[in-house]
Amino acid sequence: MTGSVGQFIDVSTAARRPLAADELAAYGILEQLRGASVLDIGTGDGRLAFGAARAGARVVVGVDPDPDALRAARQRARKERLRNVSFRLAAAQDLRAFRDRFDIAILSWTL
């Protein structure tokens, strides 16, 4: 751990969660995201999934067991015309059925 000297990040006040770009940058994975396939487990409204797509991920799949959250995420993907982002209804314990393999899996505030 870095100890008590950390990094302050801004928040998106609507969701009271960090901005996805700031959170992904803090994890030090921005470079790895470029061209990567990403699985966002517990994606909720897709906050980090969209962040990963904007950071240059080739394909992003968000999974969440909440259909309402996924509906909102899909609407946002359509609105923002992000064709490399998709969402599936699944819990973190349902991944074995997935045939795809990913470069990066994110469990943000999920475990």
Binding site: M1, T2, G3, S4, G6, Q7, F8, I9, D10, V11, T13, R16, R17, P18, E23, A26, Y27, G28, I29, Q32, S37, L39, I41, A92, Q93, D94, L95, R96, F98, D100, R101, F102, D103, I104, A105, I106, L107, S108, W109, T110, L111
Partner: protein, 136 residues
Amino acid sequence: MVDALKQARSVLRRGGILVDARPDSRVVAHVEHRGQRVATIRTQALELRDDAASDRAVATVKRERLLRRVRAGRLWHRMPFANRAEFDAYLREHLRFVHRGTWTAAWRAHQREWQDDPLDLVRAIRYEVLETVPER
């Protein structure tokens, strides 16, 4: 939780990475007013137990050599509130935090004067970047 981590690992390519990030309940969240700490907010006991279980799950997959740590760190999540009333409303609905903060003597002495001032809740987020370990 161990199962969730193992399943997450199972969908990663060889050399793929997994990011585990979550609130760090080992660090007590605090409230700032004009840059000064004016309250501490503890985490609910049930959440502390869940966090400990998550820690054990991550330790298990590392011990089983399914994943290994690449790096870990902490970031600070700062949440702004317009005033004390807005903060209290947030805390009342919050599932992780106890619903009453421990306010400093300075705050209590000035709370009428300061109650309409903006406040920041500052909480720690811990993260760990893990890499798949090739199976032998």
